[in-house]
């Protein structure tokens, strides 16, 4: 298949869509479903009537502003309405009003302005289709330019060309560490030909992060396309998606997407009429945060206890069943199709010197607009929280924002003016992580927050290495004592020493980063710890 053939197909699908005069999009991502969007969709369908096929109610992926769900967007060609009319907190009872007013005055009580910074300040690459296309529709994806990247790679580029574009793009792994994706791919590509694997890490375990979930639920084909391009570039013919069992909707949509892509000849044997074969299988996680670590994840795919092993050898050399393996996370793969489609230079023009492109963040906690945003790397933290996020509710004041989950740290107000990228966050003692941002207000106790994360690491420690297994337990009990105002100066000193040992000697990333929340809260909020210490009784 050539690009022209795909373009023809896309044009055909777009023409089908063009015949629909009135389109009502209902957010069907997990968060809006939890707020009752299924019932809203049924009610809208009733209100829509059959409409002779000109009125169409469509379930779409995440629209971003989860706290205002269920969200509904209305478009109508007759009156030039292009889906910029967004309604929030919609109930089934609102359906007649919404449908009855499409070309008249909007229903003001439900109106959610789309010119507000939350929407206007975003730059969407990963989420470009999210909230627009029906995630279960293969046609929708192709009509929106889907699979053009893969077909272009297969028909017009050599694997080396693909590697070059990805390297040029400057894309870095979106799973946390920020390892250059092009370099990772090249390492696997350089390994001798033979059985190689591509793994998509969809075991998004950071509490407070739901970016990958949204991508999988909103635009699953994009992830498959990214994986197929990667497989072509490195010479793999088999892929696995390791996805959390806690995300049933994402799993369901992935399964549908896999089936449809296969039927269309975009996965399986002789993809797009070329000699390239690539199969993808889904593997379910079973509730173990440590399986986000790549060697533990591979152990889990192999049906073993999800315990990490020492590296080297790195997965690129000896991964799944001892074969060279490429592991990237969902968001990384979601960036690939646009990079191949638009070129690495285009991607590299977005973002900062050392962190290219955009980043999806999940805003949660004590903030007005909780939900999902995608902004260029280098956006100021203050802009994200105060402008896009709408600031802190209930007239409270900002205290800290936590990034990087249990491996990250808290950033206080005085550092909010930094541009967000991998390196700036590192200098502040935290990390990008997968992109969760939890905002805390003045009522949050930082010792308590540190204890919470340590409790997390303690229960999620796999138990293999001594520093992590017993060190997190000890640090948690020390933090517990301090939080209950029973700790002493000696306890605090011991806590700091354990932080150092666990960080330096643990086997894998979980243990090595487990002390980060403690170290960063100690760095910026030491007074809160000291206030809770008992005076030595002499």
């Amino acid at each position: 298949m050539h690009l022209e053939d795909l373009a023809e197909k896309a044009a055909e699908f777009r023409a089908e869509e063009a015949a629909i005069q009135r389109e009502v999009r209902v957010c069907m991502a997990a968060s809006c479903q939890s707020s009752g969007s299924l019932a809203v969709m049924d009610a809208l369908k009733d209100a829509c009537g059959d409409g002779n096929g000109t009125c169409h109610v469509k379930g779409v992926g995440c629209m971003g502003l989860c706290s205002a769900g269920p969200l509904v967007a209305v478009a109508d060609k007759d009156c030039g309405l292009d889906a910029s009319l967004l309604y929030r907190d919609v109930t089934p009872n609102d359906a007649p009003d919404i449908m009855g007013s499409v070309c008249g005055a909007p229903v003001e009580r439900l109106r959610c302005p789309t010119d507000q910074p939350f929407f206007a300040r975003q730059h969407k690459i990963v989420l470009e289709n999210s909230g627009i296309i029906d995630p279960d529709s293969f046609k929708n994806y192709v009509a929106a330019g889907g699979y053009a990247g893969m077909v272009r790679a297969l028909s017009e580029m050599t694997p080396a060309d693909v590697l070059r574009e990805v390297t040029t793009s400057g894309l870095r792994g979106r799973g946390g560490g920020g390892y250059p994706t092009g370099l990772k791919w090249s390492t696997v590509a350089k390994m001798p030909a033979g059985q190689k694997y591509v793994i998509c890490n969809a075991d998004e375990g950071d509490p407070g992060a739901f970016m990958d979930r949204a991508v999988l639920e909103s635009d699953p084909h994009r992830v498959l396309e990214g994986m197929a391009i990667a497989a072509y570039a490195i010479g793999a013919n088999k892929g696995y998606i390791y996805v959390r069992a806690e995300y049933p909707l994402a799993v369901e949509r992935l399964q549908t997407a896999l089936r449809k892509a296969k039927r269309a000849g975009f996965l399986g044997n002789k993809i797009a009429d070329t000699q390239f074969n690539f199969e993808i299988e889904i593997r379910l996680g079973a509730g173990a945060f440590v399986c986000g670590e790549e060697t533990a994840l591979m152990a889990s795919i192999e049906g073993l206890r999800g315990q990490p092993r020492p590296r080297p050898p790195y997965p690129a050399e000896s991964g799944l069943w001892g074969c060279p393996t490429l592991i990237n996370n969902v968001e990384t793969f979601a960036n690939i199709a646009p990079i191949v489609r638009e070129g690495g230079d285009w991607f590299a023009s977005i973002g900062t010197e050392r962190s290219k492109g955009t980043k999806v963040f999940a805003l949660a906690g004590k903030i007005h607009n909780t939900g999902l945003i995608e902004v260029p790397m280098g956006t100021k933290l203050r802009d994200i929280i105060e402008i896009i996020g709408g600031g802190i509710p209930d007239d409270k004041s900002f205290k800290a924002v936590q990034t990087g989950g249990p491996s990250g740290g808290c950033i206080p107000d005085r550092h909010l003016d930094i541009p967000v990228d991998y390196d700036s966050l590192k200098t502040l003692g935290t990390m990008m992580g997968s992109g969760g941002m939890i905002v805390m207000d003045e009522t949050s106790c930082m010792v308590d927050v540190a204890r919470y994360f340590m409790e997390f690491c303690m229960t999620e420690s796999c138990g293999k290495c001594i520093p992590c297994r017993t060190g997190t337990w000890q640090m948690h009990s020390l933090l517990d004592r301090i939080a209950k105002s029973q700790g002493t100066q000696a306890d605090l000193a011991l806590l700091e020493e354990l932080c150092e040992v666990v960080q330096a000697t643990s086997l894998c990333g979980l243990g090595q980063t487990a002390p980060n929340p403690v170290l960063s809260t100690l760095r910026y909020f030491r007074d809160e710890y000291e206030e809770k210490l008992q005076l030595p009784t002499s």
């Binding site: 997990a30 968060s31 479903q33 939890s34 707020s35 989860c66 706290s67 769900g69 998004e204 375990g205 950071d206 509490p207 407070g208 992060a209 739901f210 979930r213 069992a245 806690e246 995300y247 049933p248 593997r283 379910l284 996680g285 079973a286 509730g287 173990a288 945060f289 889990s300 795919i301 192999e302 049906g303 073993l304 206890r305 999800g306 315990q307 999940a362 949660a364 906690g365 004590k366 909780t370 939900g371 999902l372 936590q402 989950g405 969760g436 939890i438 805390m440 949050s444 927050v449 919470y452 994360f453 997390f456 999620e460 796999c462």
Partner: protein
């Protein structure tokens, strides 16, 4: 010399065993299908008991201790039956900051069930989860598969009160 391990007979006439067998067959009875198979046992029976663990171990030709090690490593797998209803309280960061602890305290005060426990009448099991991904709706709980967002201790206990 290859000693072929004979496939064990199904433990009983219960048709659910066939579902589990199908999962293993789909994966060629390979050892790496262990986690997939345990998922299918739990989907079918609600938990993993000794009979099912022995059956899976024998079918996949895996050591018993390895199967038990895997079953107890992953938090999703339950070795005891759950109550008729299951309420999972999310203790992810966003929910924690917004009061997941109060939800759990409320349940404890009202029904005397601690996380991981089942009420004596087998009506309700209470579990916690590491982020169900509904951070926008924090604090959240999942009741029998349905996500309940923006809960308070009162709304949640009221919901649980209504259960049969």
């Amino acid at each position: 010399m290859t000693l072929q391990q004979a496939k064990p007979p199904l433990p009983s006439a219960d048709t659910r065993w066939k579902l589990i067998n199908a999962t293993m067959r789909r994966n060629g009875y390979a050892g790496h299908a262990l986690i997939e198979t345990l998922h299918s046992v739990q989907d079918a029976f609600g938990y993993l008991d000794e009979t099912s663990l022995r059956f899976v171990a024998a079918s996949l030709d895996l050591p018993l201790s390895k199967v038990f090690g895997v079953a107890t490593f992953y938090h999703i797998f339950m070795l005891k039956p759950k109550g008729r209803h299951t309420c999972v309280v999310c203790t992810g960061t966003a929910c924690y900051i917004k009061g997941a602890g109060e939800l759990l305290d409320g349940i404890q005060a009202h029904f005397a069930i601690a996380p991981g426990e089942t009420s004596e009448d087998d009506r309700l099991s209470v579990l916690t989860a590491r982020c169900v991904g509904a951070c926008g709706l924090a604090p959240a709980a999942v009741l029998d598969g349905d996500v309940l967002g923006k809960q308070t201790s009162d709304t949640l206990t009221a919901k649980l009160e209504e259960l049969d």
